[in-house]
């Protein structure tokens, strides 16, 4: 009977006296009301302060007195930007190019690679916005009989990601419990992360972060399917682990600047509207996006889309199937680590938060309570990095009427 549940809920909530003081609350409400007026009128000034003065470091603050602010300038139209979709055709082209680069380095004489290399996309730690693709080379060791089971053959895997989160767990994607790699120095002064020892383990893996943030990981000995049989003990040990890949070749793969993360990227190029940007985002994200859900488990009904930008940052779009007649915005609470403002874009109230100095990086949140849908953007930036999108562009995307159809 649910009556027992009612009783226990009542019991659990009893015995506490609220500490809310109504006079204090009224004062806060009055201050909030004044700030709200200020935020709506002075949004442009504040946005400029956030983007220029406070960018990625300083924490700006809302003025206490709206009379102290400079007059608001007219709301500028967001500068047009052009987005290029990394669609499946482009993805294949980049994958093929990457495979060619790696193959020329590790098997120029076609001694080891069996069959046609393959590629997959996109694994890794999407929670941190870092996703990676992998290239697979089925490997034939000299002197070792080839297994009849294609899933039991050794492979060389090269992962290309836009951050450590997109790499294999051992060297970065699970820093709490998976970062077991040690540093090794390879020819040319290349200091890489490494796990396993070539020659005494079935698994050796090297990872390296290039200056532009691309992380390359080269692993040897992994087998298709993950649960494939391990190397047969009757194989000749020395021959089995003679991969034929020298440390110099490993360093060359890790530092190859031609390797690009061939992900579902959306690239920002001058000249395209916010509407096209939204289309590009949806197109780039494809069918996978429609089924993506919050990993935090806090929203059972929302749909989440996510895209990673070559210019920096990861944009997530959450759509809730809710009509909205609540007052917009969660309010700008002084104890929150965010600079908050409201603006009007194409007749819609857009609330933005700029959150700085967070771990792992900075992020900006944009909310529109539309008539049909609630649009909530989360734009994560790499720590200390500049994003590809400005706050104006984010506001334009969130306010796009297309989300409400």
């Amino acid at each position: 009977m649910t009556e027992q549940l009612r009783t226990r809920l009542r019991d659990a909530a009893d015995g506490h006296t609220s500490g809310i003081q109504v006079p204090d609350l009224l004062h806060r409400a009055q201050v909030s009301k004044r700030r709200h007026r200020y935020a709506a009128g002075g949004a442009t000034v504040l946005a400029a302060a956030v983007l220029v003065g406070g960018a990625m470091g300083a924490r700006a603050a809302l003025p206490e007195n709206p009379d102290d602010t400079a007059p608001a300038s007219p709301q500028p139209r967001a500068e047009e930007s052009k987005w290029v979709v990394m669609d499946s055709a482009n993805e294949k082209r980049v994958n093929d190019a990457n495979i060619g680069v790696v193959r020329r380095i590790i098997d120029a004489d076609n001694q080891y690679v069996v069959g046609k290399p393959s590629a997959s996309c996109c694994g890794g730690g999407s929670e941190s916005g870092e996703i990676g693709a992998s290239l697979y080379f089925v490997w034939q060791h000299p002197g070792v009989p080839q297994s009849a089971d294609p899933h039991a053959r050794p492979i060389v895997q090269v992962s290309i990601a836009n951050g450590w989160g997109g790499t294999l767990a051992e060297c970065g994607s699970k820093p709490d419990d998976g970062n077991q790699c040690r540093e090794v120095e390879l020819p040319g002064g290349v200091v890489a992360k490494m796990i396993g020892t070539k020659g005494d383990d079935e698994h050796a893996s090297y990872a390296y972060k290039q200056p532009d943030g691309t992380v390359i990981q080269l692993s040897m000995g992994m087998q298709y399917g993950g649960d494939a049989p391990k190397f047969r003990p009757d194989w000749d040990t020395e021959a089995t682990y003679d991969w034929g890949i020298s440390d110099r070749q490993i360093a060359a793969v890790l530092t190859a600047e031609e390797l690009d993360p061939p992900l579902k990227q959306v690239r920002v190029v001058p000249g395209m509207s916010a509407t096209d940007a939204k289309r590009a985002l949806l197109q780039a994200l494809g069918d996978d996006a429609a089924t993506y859900r919050h990993k935090s488990g806090t929203d059972d009904d929302g749909t989440k889309l996510e895209g990673t930008f070559a210019g920096g940052g990861t944009l997530s779009v959450d759509l809730d199937e809710m009509t909205a007649d609540l007052v917009p915005a969660d309010g700008c609470q002084p104890d929150e680590p965010a600079v908050c403002e409201e603006r009007t874009v194409d007749g819609q109230t857009v609330t933005t938060w700029s959150v700085l100095n967070q771990d792992p990086g900075n992020f900006q949140l944009v909310l529109v309570e539309g008539e049909q849908r609630r649009v909530y953007l989360s734009y994560y930036l790499p720590a200390g990095g500049q994003g590809a999108l400005t706050l104006d562009e984010l506001a334009q995307i969130a306010a796009d009427a297309g989300w409400q159809r």
């Binding site: 649910t2 409400a29 009904d301 007649d325 309010g331 949140l365």
Partner: protein, 167 residues
């Protein structure tokens, strides 16, 4: 905002705070966060006071704002919530079992997602109907039924009480 509005708001807030705070506590499991949410919701109500008064029940509006603050707050990256067995404040066991019971029910609620938790609290603590709960959570009645059913099933597994969904 006139002085009359302020007085009306203060009177409304005084009456609404105890019940809203309890509901909020059961949803989030933390009195401090619950009261923060209630205050944040009431501040929103103050800002929208004229509009709200004309439109619907003030209490329903404020309850919806409170729940929204709690659920939205759990989605903010700097305050992301995950279901957990550990509550922010651990209560000390007593010999009568009363505190243990209170701890147990709140601990069990904490294992649910915020929306499911809200369904349980709104339906069985605030005594809202399915339609009112759906209105509060801004979702379909079918969603409330499904989430309530799922939540009851989860609670049944954890609590030593018999639970069946009532309409």
């Amino acid at each position: 905002m006139t002085r009359s509005y302020d007085a009306d708001f203060a009177a409304f807030a005084t009456a609404a705070i105890p019940g809203l705070s309890k509901s909020a506590y059961l949803i989030c499991g933390d009195w401090h966060r619950a009261e923060d949410a209630v205050q944040e919701a009431l501040i929103k109500v103050y800002r929208a006071w004229p509009r709200v008064e004309r439109r619907e029940s003030l209490l329903a509006y404020t309850r919806r704002a409170t729940v929204r603050v709690l659920i939205d707050g759990s989605r903010r990256p700097w305050r992301r919530e995950t279901s957990t067995d550990d509550l922010p404040v651990r209560l000390v066991a007593d010999e009568t079992g009363g505190i243990d019971d209170r701890d147990e029910i709140v601990r069990a609620l904490a294992t649910l997602t915020p929306r499911r938790r809200a369904c349980i609290v709104l339906r069985y603590f605030a005594d809202l109907s399915i339609a009112e709960t759906a209105e509060t959570l801004r979702c379909a009645e079918g969603t409330v039924k499904r989430q309530t059913s799922d939540a009851l099933r989860a609670l049944r597994d954890q609590l030593d009480i018999e639970l069946t969904e009532t309409r």
